[in-house]
């Protein structure tokens, strides 16, 4: 009696004191980003703070100013221009990409975990790129919001979409972006997270004698919890009020109850594990009219009960416990098969299945044995793209896929494996077992890529033609890549490969067509890489040297040997930019895309040496090239300027689609507007800063400290 009343009274006492309190005192707090954990790309260089992802930290610096400021987070690409360039990378499984594909992401963490109520991003230039918001729970990502990308106009905005409520506190968010609709770079200033703090720890400390009771109350109970609870309570009460050791009826009563409880549990577990069993042979329903709605099984010579199917292995019709959704899908598929006899052919079904994405294939495999065999056929798994499923792919998925991929040729594991969801030894095993025929491999932004994975790539995939390891920072033995001999595309953006390894890889692969070594800060002498490319790779089509500070004119001149060169990005190679006479050495190539951002020394004369000999030029970036004048861009309508007609960009390059003249001080806004009218098929970009430094300061500007 005493102990029972104790328990009940303690529950009451506990609830009065604390349980109601924390419902009312749950605080709503707002926080800005404390740290940027990960991102897929950024405009700024790795050693700088301008235009980099770390500018997302803290409160906004420029908002509500609208413009192109270095204190914002800018991504590497915008619009559809990179998709139209020669170096475009194709999707391996186009049917697999989502309705709203995402191109970039950034992962941010906050100081305290909260139940999120609102996520607001401050956009200070070209808003509208955000498409998804994810929240990190314990080992799994939860989608808070998904929406279409848009171009929201030329004004700053705080974008705060409606988010789903989740029942766990979080402090890590991932934002995904799609900037295909935007005319220029999008820039973000800050991210704000508003949420409710979970019950504070200090209140729980005072009651740790009863904390176990407290936790039981708020956690969801599984079904067999009820069976356990009732059994336990009954046993306890029987022990108190009618103990079995006192009399025989009491013992009988206790035994009856216990047997009932045990049998309940037993049958419950059996139903979970075993299933309903077989339909009797030759079964007919009681009501004869029901025969019209049922199928007949010839092997068992009986009708099939609803939700049952014939199992070839057990040679019996088995009762199923499938849900309604499956029945509908299965019924539809079976209808299709039965109505179209031509579709009974395996080849036809496989051809149809080739158009399905991974999720649908898995569902097909669960329909029946026949579909299972077809859906797991290796021929459907020659090209696998797991990037849209980055949030749920774990190591075990690789193990399962391993049984299906005998002819694997293209594998895309980009973005997967965040927060240790995939372990590198699973990847190593997968590569060893399945990837001997692999020709294309992408593991962009994957944490699990370390030296062992790199070595197994090199060992297992001898015929690799495409290798993309963007933003991979876990490796140090890049020299192993020189074992590969058949590479055509090598994308090492933002990795820490060194000069010797890069030169060795280039020398070993004479068939290289596309090379990206942008933002590789550990390459101390980019000239050697460029010279190696010029000497060894005559088929080179595109090369990207973004932010390579060690590249000089010597290296770029060496690239002139590559007569098939169509794309060259030497943006922000400041040493090469001190003068532009190396441009003439590119005249023998077939340039279609030339990015010369921030090469301040390039002047009209240099461009005049190049432009007449590159008639196919489609994209030209002259951002911040101070010395460029309006003359080189277009002809003025005076007689004396006729000699310039031969050289001016807009007049001469009929295929030009993109011209970026942002921050070219000698070209005026009015001239740009004129050109836009005169050449409507050319997209002329002109970025700006709406307020310069001499404007009145924003409220974030601190006064001299007076504390």
């Amino acid at each position: 009696m005493q102990s029972a009343s104790d328990i009940i009274s303690s529950l009451l006492w506990f609830r009065d004191d604390n349980y109601q309190d924390e419902e009312n005192n749950a605080q709503i707090i707002e926080q800005f980003v404390q740290n940027v954990e990960d991102f897929s790309s950024q405009y700024g260089s790795e050693i700088s703070v301008s235009y980099t992802a770390f500018n997302l930290r803290g409160p906004p610096s420029n908002f509500p100013d609208y413009g192109d400021y270095p204190q914002a987070f800018v991504m590497r690409t915008y619009g559809k221009w990179w998709d139209e360039a020669p170096s475009v990378q194709e999707d391996y499984m186009p049917q697999n990409s989502r309705a709203i594909p995402s191109q970039d992401y950034v992962e941010v963490s906050f100081e305290r975990s909260v139940y999120p109520l609102e996520v607001a991003i401050f956009e200070t230039y070209n808003p509208g790129a955000l498409v998804r918001i994810w929240a990190l729970g314990t080992g799994a990502w939860f989608l808070l919001w998904e929406g279409e990308p848009e171009y929201a106009g030329d004004k700053p905005r705080i974008f705060s979409p409606p988010i789903k409520q989740i029942n766990f506190p979080t402090r890590v968010l991932r934002l995904e972006f799609n900037h295909r609709l935007l005319p220029y770079y999008t820039e973000l200033d800050a991210v704000l997270l508003r949420g409710k703090e979970p019950a504070s720890e200090s209140k729980m400390k005072n009651n740790f004698a009863y904390s176990t009771l407290f936790y039981k109350k708020t956690q969801p109970q599984p079904q067999n919890g009820i069976i356990k609870l009732i059994t336990w309570a009954m046993v306890h009460l029987i022990g108190m009020w009618w103990p079995p050791h006192e009399s025989i009826p009491a013992a009988l009563h206790a035994a009856t109850f216990l047997s009932l409880a045990v049998s309940t549990l037993y049958f419950f577990l059996q139903s979970l594990l075993e299933g309903p069993g077989f339909v009797p042979l030759g079964w007919r329903p009681d009501n004869e009219l029901d025969i019209a709605k049922l199928q007949y099984c010839a092997t068992c010579k009986g009708y099939k009960a609803p939700r049952s199917h014939h199992c070839r292995q057990c040679v019996r019709t088995v009762e199923g416990s499938l849900t309604k959704g499956f029945i509908r899908k299965r019924a539809l598929l079976l209808e299709a098969v039965s109505l179209h006899p031509s579709l009974r052919n395996d080849e036809t079904i496989l051809t149809i299945m080739k158009y399905l994405d991974m999720q649908s294939l898995s569902r097909c495999a669960q329909v029946n044995r026949h579909f299972n065999r077809l859906a797991l056929d290796s021929i459907l798994y020659r090209c696998i793209d797991l990037r849209p499923y980055w949030h749920c792919v774990r190591s075990q998925v690789l193990g399962i896929l391993g049984t299906r991929c005998k002819f694997l040729q293209k594998l895309d594991l980009s973005w997967c494996g965040s927060h240790c969801m995939i372990q590198s030894h699973y990847v190593t095993k997968f590569l060893k077992q399945n990837c001997s025929e692999l020709t294309h491999l992408r593991m962009n932004c994957c944490e699990f890529v370390d030296n062992s994975v790199l070595i197994s790539i090199v060992d297992s995939c001898a015929y690799l033609q495409e290798l993309c390891l963007r933003s991979v920072i876990g490796c140090s033995d890049w020299i192993y890549l020189s074992v590969l001999k058949h590479l055509r595309r090598l994308d090492l953006y933002r990795t820490d490969i060194g000069t010797t390894a890069a030169v060795a890889v280039v020398r070993a692969n004479p068939h290289l067509q596309h090379v990206n070594v942008g933002s590789c800060k550990m390459i101390s002498s980019m000239d050697e890489v460029a010279i190696a490319l010029g000497a060894n790779c005559p088929h080179l089509i595109s090369v990207d040297f973004w932010k390579s500070y060690s590249l000089t004119a010597v290296g770029i001149r060496a690239l002139g040997n590559c007569r098939l060169l169509q794309e060259l990005d030497v943006g922000w190679c400041l040493q090469a930019g001190s003068s532009g006479e190396w441009l003439s050495s590119l005249a023998g190539t077939e340039l279609r895309k030339l990015f010369l951002g921030a090469l301040r020394g390039v002047c009209d004369r240099d461009l005049r040496a190049l432009i007449p000999r590159t008639p196919k030029l489609a994209q030209l970036d002259l951002l911040g090239v101070r010395a460029v004048t309006p003359d080189i861009c277009t002809v003025a309508s005076t007689f004396q300027r006729m000699h310039v007609v031969a050289c001016s960009i807009l007049a001469r390059c009929q295929e030009l689609r993109l011209l970026d003249v942002s921050f070219c001080d000698q070209i005026l806004e009015s001239q740009v507007n004129e050109w836009r009218l005169q050449y409507p098929h050319v997209s002329i970009k002109r970025s700006f800063q709406s307020a310069n430094l001499s404007a009145p300061p924003s409220p974030m500007f601190l006064a001299p400290s007076l504390e």
């Binding site: 005493q2 104790d6 700024g44 260089s45 700088s48 703070v49 301008s50 235009y51 770390f54 930290r57 803290g58 610096s61 192109d68 270095p70 204190q71 200090s202 400390k205 005072n206 009651n207 922000w572 400041l574 930019g577 001190s578 003068s579 951002g597 921030a598 301040r600 020394g601 951002l623 911040g624 101070r626 010395a627 942002s662 921050f663 001080d665 970025s687 800063q689 430094l693 001499s694 404007a695 009145p696 300061p697 500007f701 601190l702 001299p704 400290s705 007076l706 504390e707």
Partner: protein, 312 residues
């Protein structure tokens, strides 16, 4: 029986509460130990008041900043070299961007407490990363107070400088770095192609020094507009006025800052008046004569006075 049980539970809960609050209080006490910090004020005049910039952070071609990060106070001034105006480049742009970038790096924590020269270098290289081409040159002087160790570290390049006064005496003074007369060391970003014609000193050639500070030290960081026009004894006298007994409580802080501001204002006003005085033997005139140039009077220039006092 029950009542004893209940009482026991209440008592034990009270004891547990007390213990936990004792723990948290002990932690608080540790972090409440006092560290010295800087109280700083600024005053200045552009050379050309009618057309000069009067925006926060700039006085004409000069620029300054004052900020803090966790346990460091950082202050600095920069003087844009006026010769660029002849080439169509705004001299104040470079110095202003330099100071704003220093401030941003400090606020983000991207600096080393013990290396103000490194902060200056980082800020200079950061200017290269701007999309907008920034051209020009300037001198600079940056000082970092390490609160935990009460050590002040300074990095100076050019003819701006600092002066530290303690108990009525000058205890530290920076030295002017000059190539030749009126041509100070300077950080510069010349237009491409003109690299050889333009004097450009590397940020690594900055003069660095460090010294201990005590509560009550007055520190003056100023551009050459002040040091070239106001003689040292006058500056010393002014800064003595600013000295006060530090740590006099919250009300004292307000008046301390006000007193400091008054002193800064008077130094700046004096410098301005003297700069336009035609027949006064200024320090600038003295050093000109030493270099064989017959000059007299003050030197009209932008004036920036950043005055700070170490308080507890």
């Amino acid at each position: 029986m029950q009542s004893i049980f209940w009482t026991g539970r209440v008592l034990s809960r009270a004891i547990r509460n007390g213990l936990s609050s004792l723990n948290s209080a002990a932690e608080l006490n540790v972090s409440n130990k006092k560290h010295p910090y800087l109280v700083s004020v600024v005053c200045g005049f552009p050379k050309d008041i009618a057309n000069g910039r009067t925006h926060k952070g700039q006085f004409g071609d000069d620029a300054w900043f004052s900020t803090q990060f966790s346990n460091a106070d950082v202050i600095g001034v920069a003087d844009g070299v006026g010769g660029w105006r002849a080439y169509g480049i705004d001299p104040g742009e470079f110095s202003s961007y330099l100071m704003r970038t220093c401030e941003r790096l400090v606020r983000m924590g991207h600096f080393k407490l013990s290396e103000p020269g490194d902060l200056l270098a980082k800020s200079y290289y950061e200017l290269l990363e701007h999309k907008k081409p920034i051209l020009g040159s300037s001198t600079a002087c940056v000082m970092i107070l390490d609160r935990n160790e009460s050590i002040m570290r300074a990095a100076n390049i050019g003819d701006s400088g600092y002066m530290v006064v303690r108990a009525g005496r000058i205890v530290h003074r920076s030295h002017e770095q000059q190539h030749y007369f009126n041509t100070p060391y300077q950080l510069s970003l010349p237009p491409p192609g003109h690299d050889r014609n333009v004097l450009s000193d590397r940020p690594e050639s900055a003069d660095t020094s460090e010294f201990r500070v005590e509560c009550g030290d007055v520190i003056l960081v100023a551009t050459d507009g002040v040091f070239d026009n106001v003689p040292e004894p006058v500056l010393l006298a002014e800064m003595k006025r600013a000295q006060t007994v530090a740590g006099s409580g919250a009300a004292g802080e307000e008046s301390e800052a006000q007193r400091l501001q008054a002193v800064a204002n008077s130094i700046a006003w004096m410098a301005r008046n003297l700069s336009f005085d035609g027949c006064y033997m200024s320090p600038f005139a003295k050093s000109a004569r030493q270099n064989g140039i017959d000059a007299i009077g003050g030197k009209p220039d932008d004036i920036t006075v950043l005055l700070a006092i170490v308080a507890l």
